[in-house]
């Protein structure tokens, strides 16, 4: 292996291992994966996010997580997005094409997708004061 090959391998592997880390990631995308969510295709939505985060090189900033049902079963799949300096919002009916819009506009473009927001998260009564 030459020096260049080593550097290339390091850069390539870095993004791989970075995905595991949670520190320093400021943006969270949380996909509702209750039974209702999965039945409406949340798994596919989740995979679309995974693929897009990879393609756009966002792995160092964005943490993709899953959670249970958010209680908006009529609008599954639901996705909550938390980004710094932006309100926390929940998007509904997030199919693959919407996922793409969220990544491009909300995460990269820092603009809310007004038409697709269906709610903001309920106040977390468990959160520490």
């Amino acid at each position: 292996m030459t020096l260049e090959e080593l550097r290339k391998l390091r850069n390539q592997m870095k993004t791989e291992v970075e995905k595991r880390e949670t520190a320093g990631k400021t943006i969270q995308v949380i996909v509702g994966m209750g039974t209702c969510g999965i039945a409406s295709g949340a798994k596919e939505t989740f995979n679309t996010f995974l693929k897009l985060i990879d393609e756009k090189g966002l792995a160092d900033r964005v943490m993709l997580r899953q959670t249970g049902c958010m209680g908006l079963c009529a609008h599954e799949p639901t996705v909550e997005v938390i980004a710094p300096d932006m309100p926390r919002v929940i998007y509904g009916d997030v199919k693959a094409d919407v996922a793409k819009e969220i990544v491009e506009q909300h995460i990269i473009g820092k603009k809310l997708l007004d038409n697709l927001i269906i709610d903001k998260p309920a106040a977390d009564i468990m959160a520490k004061k």
Partner: protein, 593 residues
């Protein structure tokens, strides 16, 4: 396809012995059965350090820290968390954890600074790619292409790094001697012959991050002009040996070891040498003789190995933990490194916390941290609410530190002043039930067994000291014996050939000094205050006895007698002091004093 989850399963020896391998296999099988094997990457990592709560499983990105996991839990972890995205609360370390909280909030990790253990529990130690991703071999790049040998040595000197094997000799000075030594052939050696009872940081470092040692040794090769290295590791560490073999193979395949490394024109290769487990082979000159194929016995210094080591050639020998610091120093620079620690000692130190401590495990803290922080804040204090008595640092070469000294910041100098030493970093915590005479006797017995016998101060001194300690523990000691112990001890310190004999009296001498009244109790009152020395104990039955006869049936000496439903008595002339009666009695009617 990218993964949605990562499961890190501890693959250190401690967790493996509590079936972490089975957990790993079960997780794999469950993932396959539930059709998510392409969504989750399951990685076996090195030691997380929190061995008390092992086996440890960590799931990312949720940062779920699961403790005391058993193989049967694999189904729940996969079915709940990977498929449905729900943590498994019953396995969480902190059952009230909010999903946003970090593992570093756990008190055990909060005060730690992990430099040596930076990759342990994070990467798969059998994957060179993951090591490279965490800036692995970046220091080698720098050393090979941007630095001269003199600059490398200067950087190590400036870092203030001192040898982590025990004595704390400045690593930079050693390398400088190696660089300046004249010779057609020079060698680099890694001392992985970790033998102190209770110490396992070197094993865990190799098991969790073998490439860091390889990289550091190659850098040293470039610095002193050596092309051949040996790693001397004991055969009792099969997992560490295996991971080293894998690492050397991978590095050679990738051209990071061998001829013309990364096209720089520099050659370096490494061989593993297995030690048979003699404690004295951890002493550097004895270790070198063992690599040469001779009997492992120390030789006088000077000449130091840096002048005449393996086969009489200049040799740089460092301990595993010292090596693991090198890549970080080269990558981040000496000025970054020497800001960590205190005036006497720079950087961090890994300690293996064992004994009567709530959280036994591996901890890495900056030099200058106090023992109180290590034992009470990180270690969680003494088990079962007992009282702290002392802590033995440095294994059989160190001494006991009492509670009066708990607030002293720990570095090489401070430990020597307290009559102990850093040693490799074992810390055995003792509570009120431990007897200092018994402990001193235990370590002396170890040294009697492990003395190589070459020099008489050590061979005869350890035996004599053991005999006297044994006499005291049987209640036959005299006040003159204490003086004798001190005399023999100071003679051994002054005259022994190597560190084994020079430091063997430390546990005895430090306990005589700090727990004098306990020795007096053994000698004059014929009592063991901790209730440990069985020859000084008397078992007797109190009025709580209901006369059930259970103890009499258990007694191997048949020395308990009495009518059923009346208080029994122990015949002291026949009693073996085995304690079987005390353990059997449900009414706490048997007491010892």
């Amino acid at each position: 396809m990218a993964y949605s989850h990562y499961i890190l399963v501890c693959g250190g020896t401690a967790c493996e012995s509590s079936s972490s391998k089975k957990i790993y296999d079960n997780l794999k099988a469950e993932a396959k059965a539930l059709g998510v094997e392409n969504e989750v990457q399951i990685v076996q990592t090195g030691c997380f350090g929190f061995c008390e709560k092992g086996p440890i499983v960590k799931v990312l990105p949720e940062d779920s820290f699961y403790v005391n996991v058993v193989p049967e839990d694999a189904h729940d972890i996969i079915a709940e968390q990977i498929v449905k995205g729900r943590e498994v609360p019953r396995l969480l370390y902190d059952k009230n954890k909010k999903s946003t909280e970090d593992v570093s909030d756990i008190p055990f990790y909060k005060k730690q600074l992990r430099i040596v253990l930076r990759n342990c529990g994070v990467i798969n130690p059998e994957s060179i790619e993951e090591y490279i991703a965490r800036d692995g071999y970046l220091a080698l790049e720098k050393a090979l292409f941007e630095m001269t040998p003199e600059q490398i040595v200067q950087e190590v000197k400036d870092s203030g790094l001192r040898g982590r094997g025990g004595a704390g000799f400045p690593t930079g000075l050693k390398w400088d001697a190696g660089l300046k030594a004249k010779g057609d052939e020079k060698y680099v050696v890694c001392n992985a012959d970790e033998g102190d009872p209770g110490a396992y940081m070197d094993r865990s470092t190799i098991e969790g991050d073998p490439h860091s040692v390889l990289e550091a040794m190659t850098i040293c090769g470039k610095a002193i002009g050596s092309h051949h290295g040996f790693i001397y590791i004991r055969a009792e560490y099969p997992l560490a040996v295996h991971r080293l073999e894998v690492a050397i193979k991978q590095a050679t395949e990738k051209g990071l070891l061998g001829k013309n490394i990364l096209g720089s024109g520099f050659d370096f290769d490494l061989e593993i040498r297995l030690g048979a487990g003699a404690f004295v082979c951890g002493e550097e000159t004895a270790l070198l003789r063992s690599i040469e194929g001779k009997r492992g016995m120390p030789t006088p210094k000077p000449p130091f190995p840096a002048q005449a080591g393996l086969w009489g050639k200049p040799t740089i020998i460092n301990n595993v933990e010292t090596w693991a610091n090198i890549p970080v120093i080269i990558t981040k620079g000496a000025s970054w490194y020497n800001k960590i620690g205190d005036a006497d000692s720079k950087g961090t130190k890994v300690f293996a916390l064992t004994g009567k401590i709530a959280n036994s495990g591996l901890v890495e803290v900056p030099m200058g941290t106090t023992l109180r922080e290590i034992i009470f804040e990180i270690g969680g204090g003494i088990k079962n609410g007992k009282k702290f008595k002392g802590v033995q640092t440095g294994g059989p070469s160190g001494g006991i530190i009492s509670d009066a000294e708990l607030d002293t910041p720990i570095d090489y100098g401070a430990l020597i002043r307290m009559g102990s030493m850093m040693g490799s970093g074992g810390m055995i915590v003792m509570d009120e039930d431990d007897c200092v005479v018994d402990i001193a006797k235990f370590y002396m017995e170890f040294c009697v067994d492990e003395s190589c016998g070459k020099c008489s101060p050590c061979r005869i001194g350890t035996r004599q000291m053991y005999t006297i300690l044994d006499k005291i523990s049987r209640g036959n000691g005299t006040m003159q014996d204490l003086q004798k112990l001190e005399d023999i001890g100071s003679a051994m310190k002054a005259c022994s050939l190597c560190a084994l004999g020079q430091s063997a009296p430390n546990p005895t001498l430090s306990t005589i000094k700090k727990f004098h009244e306990e020795y007096i109790a053994h000698i004059q009152d014929k009592k063991c205050p901790a209730g440990k020395c069985k020859h000084l104990l008397t078992f007797f039955i109190t009025e709580k006895c209901i006369g059930c006869g259970a103890c009499a049936r258990q007694c191997p000496a048949n020395c308990i007698s009495g009518e059923i439903k009346t208080r029994h008595v122990i015949d002291q002339t026949k009693c073996l002091k085995c304690g079987a009666c005390e353990r059997t009695c449900k009414f706490h009617a048997i007491e010892k004093k």
